[in-house]
């Protein structure tokens, strides 16, 4: 199981309180994790990546194991610590005013 930490507003949309866990069939990548998230929590569709382009939204970033993975290929394997469940994949909203 992959552990995922969502920003507070997306936790609200998904009606979850803490971390979520998703099961991945096949390689664990950013794409497969978001696919699994959207399948389990359909209210998140279009909020992490654009509905049409499937691109990550500009003000969201992916972190894990103290590394910024946002510019990695969406099909690159996630770190072993994330795959094993030792570390979560963090989906983080950019810090911005307002």
């Amino acid at each position: 199981m992959i552990r995922v930490v969502l920003p507070a507003h997306l936790r609200g949309l998904a009606h979850v309180a803490g971390e979520v866990q998703v099961e991945i069939k096949g390689p664990a990548t950013q794409r497969s994790v978001v696919d699994a998230l959207e399948a389990s929590y359909p209210t998140l569709r279009g909020t992490i990546r654009d509905h049409v382009t499937q691109q990550r939204r500009p003000f969201l970033r992916f972190f894990a194991c103290e590394e910024d993975l946002s510019h990695e290929s969406p099909d690159a394997p996630l770190p072993d610590e994330v795959v094993s469940g030792k570390e979560p994949l963090l989906i983080v909203g950019a810090i911005a005013g307002g």
Binding site: A8, H15, Y41, T47, H51, V52, R57
Partner: protein
């Protein structure tokens, strides 16, 4: 006793204000969707418990919310609320999917418009500015979006299809964004003719369809905008808002960037009715529920200074359909007031003594239960108000 429900969209959530017909004591419910921008909420005229809301964020994009119980509970249409997807597979969850139509079946609508640099720029969906439920069917609702286009849902907001004849009618390449973006912000449905729809776009102008949205024509004759070199420009006008009285759907009132206008022929020709207003810049315009020649605007100092002239918040009322205006000030701040009133932030109820409502960027929502003679703030300290709608309840 009948009552009212005021739907308020703000920069940081939605609020629902309710009162009985006296409109003296109010219950404030919210924030709903705290932290999100709520550009607009509106109830279905065919089912007052059916509400639609446009929720958006610079981080997470567009969300459509729907309530079937007057705002007590909300769901994203087409998704099971708070539940994981069923084993049979997840629902489509397309309530926030707005895809511009580029199909060959609809004539390959154009996919670029003029941009700030004078070049052509692809249409890019950003947000829903305005939701207009059908007058007769609770499941049908129109959405005006940025970049400017009109979408319609016939399944209660679960899915959306573009009415692409608007974007593709011919002048589209000349449309360009105003400072607030290139948005379709006004949708007016003709109660006497289900095939007639009016929309307004900043900064393109006003448009009318007489075939339920299939084809469109610009209706901007008589509009003059000082920043457009061509005095007879067909498009390019920065229309801020259009209002209509249901008993006279051929008469339209418009607050343009500058100038308050009216048309007596469904937009074929406009004439200026700014008259004795202290300034004819502004955003809102609305019509009394029972007096089709009584109209309201809130003059704003200028396009460079978006606040009331002299620091005095004044609603102006004309009982003659324009030109002759009176300032309504009782209960409104008459010194040191520097708020704005945005284009979707005025509404009227249809109680016997017509109530007028407006919200400010300072977070106040004002109500006049007597057609503008006296005003009181329902709330004073909300986030900046983006939209105000009111439902008159039985």
């Amino acid at each position: 006793m009948s009552g009212v429900r005021v739907l308020v969209g703000t920069r940081k959530g939605a609020f629902i204000l309710t009162s009985d017909g006296k409109r003296e004591r109010w219950e404030v419910n919210g924030p709903h969707f705290a932290g999100w921008e709520l550009y607009h909420l509106k109830g279905s005229p065919a089912d007052p418990n059916r509400l639609y809301a446009s929720q958006c964020s610079g981080w997470f994009g567009q969300i459509i919310q729907r309530s079937d119980d007057g705002g007590k509970t909300w769901t994203q249409p087409g998704t099971p609320p708070g539940e994981q997807a069923a084993p049979g597979g997840p629902p489509k969850a397309e309530s926030n999917k707005f895809v511009y139509d580029t199909s060959s079946e609809t004539g390959k609508p154009l996919t670029t418009h003029q941009f700030y640099d004078g070049k052509q720029h692809p249409w890019e969906f950003k947000r829903v500015w305005h939701l207009e439920p059908s007058l007769s069917d609770p499941d049908t609702v129109y959405a005006g979006v940025e970049d400017a286009a009109l979408f319609r849902s016939k399944d209660g907001g679960k899915s959306w299809q573009e009415l692409s004849g608007l974007r593709g009618h011919g002048t589209g390449p000349k449309w360009q964004p105003g400072a607030g973006g290139m948005c379709l912000h006004t949708i007016v449905l003709d109660p006497s003719n289900p095939k007639r729809i009016f929309v307004a776009i900043s900064a393109a102008g006003a448009f009318r369809s007489d075939d339920a949205g299939k084809t469109w024509q610009p209706i901007n004759r008589g509009l003059h905008s000082q920043y457009i070199p061509d005095p007879n420009a067909e498009v390019g006008h920065c229309v801020h808002r259009i209002a209509m009285h249901k008993s006279r759907p051929g008469v339209l009132f418009m607050q343009k960037h500058w100038d308050v206008m009216r048309s007596d022929n469904a937009g074929d020709l406009w004439q200026e009715i700014s008259g004795n207003l202290p300034t004819d810049f502004g955003f809102v315009v609305d019509v009394h529920a029972h007096e089709p020649e009584t109209i309201y605007v809130v003059p704003i100092k200028s396009d460079g200074e978006h606040f009331p002239p002299e620091g005095k918040l004044r609603v102006y009322r004309s009982r003659s359909g324009g030109n002759e205006w009176e300032a309504l000030t009782k209960g409104l701040p008459q010194r040191d007031c520097y708020v704005n009133v945005l284009r979707d932030a005025m509404a009227v109820d249809s109680l016997d003594n017509c109530g007028i409502y407006f919200g400010t960027t300072g977070g106040q929502v004002y109500c006049s239960p007597d057609a503008g003679d006296n005003w009181t703030p329902i709330v004073r300290d909300l986030p900046a108000v983006l939209s105000v709608e009111v439902q008159t309840l039985p």
